[in-house]
C-alpha cells in the first residue's frame, strides 16, 4: 500500500488520477481502517487528505449557509458554537456515528463515500439539501448528496474524483431539522432504520419539507410522498398517520442480522413521526421535547 500526504487538492487529485488499483482517501479513517483490519479491502493507494489547507474549517458562506471541510470530525461539528443552532439534525446525525472515540475522527464525507445504506449522517444531509463539491482531473461539479451513493459501497464519483467541500444551505427563517435512528442498544450500533426530516413553517403550517430514510433501501431514500403528507398541515394526527404510511410505503429493505423487512418498514413510519415532531417543534420555536 502506498501512503500519501498531499497538501493541496490538486496534488491529491493528481495522485489519485495516476494511481493503479484501488485508491482510497483517508479523512477520518474510521471505515477504511476497519476494512483493512477485517481483510475486506486494503487499498493500493491511500491518500491522507488531512494535511490539505482548510479541510478542518467550518465557515459561513456569504449566503448564510455553511461550508464544512472534508476532514472536520463529528466532534468538531458538535463543538461548533453556531452550526448546531442552524442545523441541529445534521449535527446530531453526525454525532451518532460510532463512539466518542470514533466521533473524534469520523467525517461527513467519509460517512457519505463509504456509501453504507445505513449511514447515519446521510439521511440528515439529504433532508437538509446539502450539496458537495466534487473535483477531479476533468474539473469541478456541484452534486446533491443524494446523488453520491449509487448502491451499497458504490458512489457516483469517477476514478480520480474526490469530494473537496460540503455546503449546507442557509437555514433561513422558521426552519427545523431532526434525525432519529433505531438501534437495539442505546449506542454503538449501526442504524436499523434512520430518518432525517427538514421542514419550514409559516405560522403553524408546514410549507416545505424533505423526508429522507436510511437503511430501508440500497441507498438513502428521499421520500417525496412523505414530505407531501405533511406539507400544508399543522402536523396533526392525520398528517402524522399519512406520514408514517408514506414512509413505510417507501421502504424496500432487506432481512439481515440487524433487522427484518417487516420491522424496518414499520419502524420507518414510527421514526418519521417522531423526527417530524422534533423538526416541527424546532421550526415553530418550541423547546425540544
Amino acid at each position: 500500500m502506498q501512503y500519501h500526504t498531499p497538501t493541496s487538492f490538486d496534488d491529491a487529485i493528481a495522485i489519485a488520477a495516476q494511481a493503479d488499483g484501488v485508491t482510497r482517501f483517508l479523512a477520518g479513517g474510521t471505515d477504511v481502517l476497519v476494512q483493512m483490519r477485517a481483510d475486506i479491502l486494503t487499498p493500493d493507494t491511500l491518500i491522507n487528505v488531512k494535511g490539505i489547507d482548510g479541510v478542518k474549517d467550518i465557515t459561513r458562506t456569504p449566503e448564510g449557509g455553511w461550508q464544512i471541510g472534508i476532514a472536520v470530525s463529528g466532534a468538531e461539528m458538535t463543538e461548533h458554537p453556531e452550526l448546531g443552532r442552524d442545523w441541529p439534525g445534521v449535527v446530531e446525525a453526525t454525532d451518532l456515528i460510532g463512539s466518542t472515540q470514533v466521533q473524534g475522527r469520523c467525517t461527513m464525507v467519509g460517512n457519505l463515500c463509504n456509501a453504507s445504506p445505513a449511514a447515519d449522517a446521510v439521511p440528515a444531509m439529504v433532508a437538509a439539501g446539502i450539496t458537495v463539491t466534487v473535483s477531479g482531473p476533468d474539473g469541478t461539479r456541484e452534486v446533491a448528496v443524494e446523488d453520491i451513493p449509487t448502491g451499497p459501497g458504490k458512489t457516483s464519483l469517477a476514478s480520480g474524483e474526490m469530494i473537496t467541500r460540503i455546503t449546507l444551505p442557509p437555514r433561513g427563517e422558521n426552519g427545523g431539522d431532526a434525525y432519529l435512528r433505531f438501534i437495539p442498544r442505546t449506542e454503538m450500533d449501526i442504524a436499523v432504520v434512520g430518518c432525517g426530516i427538514n421542514l419550514r413553517v409559516d405560522g403553524d403550517t408546514i410549507t416545505e419539507a424533505r423526508v429522507a430514510l436510511g437503511a430501508v433501501a440500497p441507498t438513502v431514500r428521499l421520500v417525496a410522498e412523505a414530505a407531501e403528507a405533511i406539507i400544508g398541515t399543522t402536523l396533526d394526527d392525520a398528517a402524522l398517520a399519512a406520514l408514517a404510511e408514506a414512509a413505510s410505503a417507501a421502504c424496500s429493505p432487506i432481512d439481515d442480522k440487524r433487522g427484518t423487512i417487516k420491522f424496518r418498514t414499520h419502524v420507518a413510519g414510527v421514526l418519521a413521526q417522531r423526527a417530524a415532531r422534533i423538526a416541527y417543534a424546532r421550526a415553530t420555536g418550541q423547546k425540544d421535547s
Binding site: 500526504t5 481502517l33 491522507n48 463512539s99 466518542t100 472515540q101 473524534g104 475522527r105 442505546t186
Partner: protein
C-alpha cells in the same frame, strides 16, 4: 514495501520510528514502542480498549495509522500518572474496585480523563454515553460510573 519515518510526541517525549503504512497506531505502540497499556480487544473501533488521545482528542488507536502520528501528540495510559503520583481517577478506580479483570481499564481511564477535562461536572447519563464505546464485560459498569462521578466531584472540590 518501504517503511515510513515518523517523528511524534508520546506522553511528552519525542519519539521516532519506522512503520509500514498499513500498521495502526496501536500496532506501533504495542509492537514497536513497547507501550502495551493500550489493548487490542477488537481492532475495529468497537471496544475502546486501545483508547489514546491524539492532540488531546480521544481516539481509538486501532482506527489510526501509525504514519498519521507524524507531527502530532499522543498520550497513552502510560502517561497518566505523574511520577509515583496516580491520577485521581486511577486512585479512585482502585479504591472502588472499578475493575475486575482490568483489560478495559486503561482505555476507560484514558477516556474518562478526556471527559473530565472537557466536562468537569458530567451527569451519570453523560458519563454512560461518553463511555459507550468502552466495553467492559466484568463489572456491569456500576462501580466504574460511581468512581468517575466521585472523582469528578473530588476534582471540582480540589480546584
Amino acid at each position: 514495501m518501504s517503511k515510513i519515518h515518523v517523528t511524534t510526541t508520546i506522553n511528552g517525549d519525542e519519539v521516532e520510528y519506522l512503520c509500514d503504512p498499513r500498521e495502526t497506531m496501536l500496532d506501533v505502540l504495542r509492537d514497536r514502542l513497547g507501550l502495551t497499556g493500550a489493548k487490542e480487544g477488537c481492532g475495529t473501533g468497537d471496544c475502546g480498549a486501545c483508547s489514546v488521545t491524539l492532540d488531546g482528542r480521544l481516539v481509538c488507536s486501532c482506527l489510526m495509522l501509525g504514519a498519521e502520528a507524524d507531527g502530532h501528540e499522543i498520550t497513552t495510559i502510560e502517561g497518566m500518572a505523574t511520577g509515583e503520583e496516580l491520577h485521581p481517577l486511577q486512585q479512585k478506580f482502585i479504591e472502588y474496585a472499578a475493575l475486575q479483570c482490568g483489560i478495559c481499564t486503561p482505555g476507560i481511564l484514558v477516556a474518562t480523563k478526556a471527559l473530565l477535562e472537557k466536562n468537569p461536572d458530567p451527569t451519570e447519563t453523560e458519563v454512560r454515553y461518553w463511555l459507550a464505546g468502552n466495553l467492559c464485560r466484568c463489572t456491569g459498569y456500576d462501580k466504574i460510573i460511581r468512581a468517575v462521578m466521585d472523582t469528578a466531584a473530588d476534582m471540582r472540590e480540589a480546584s
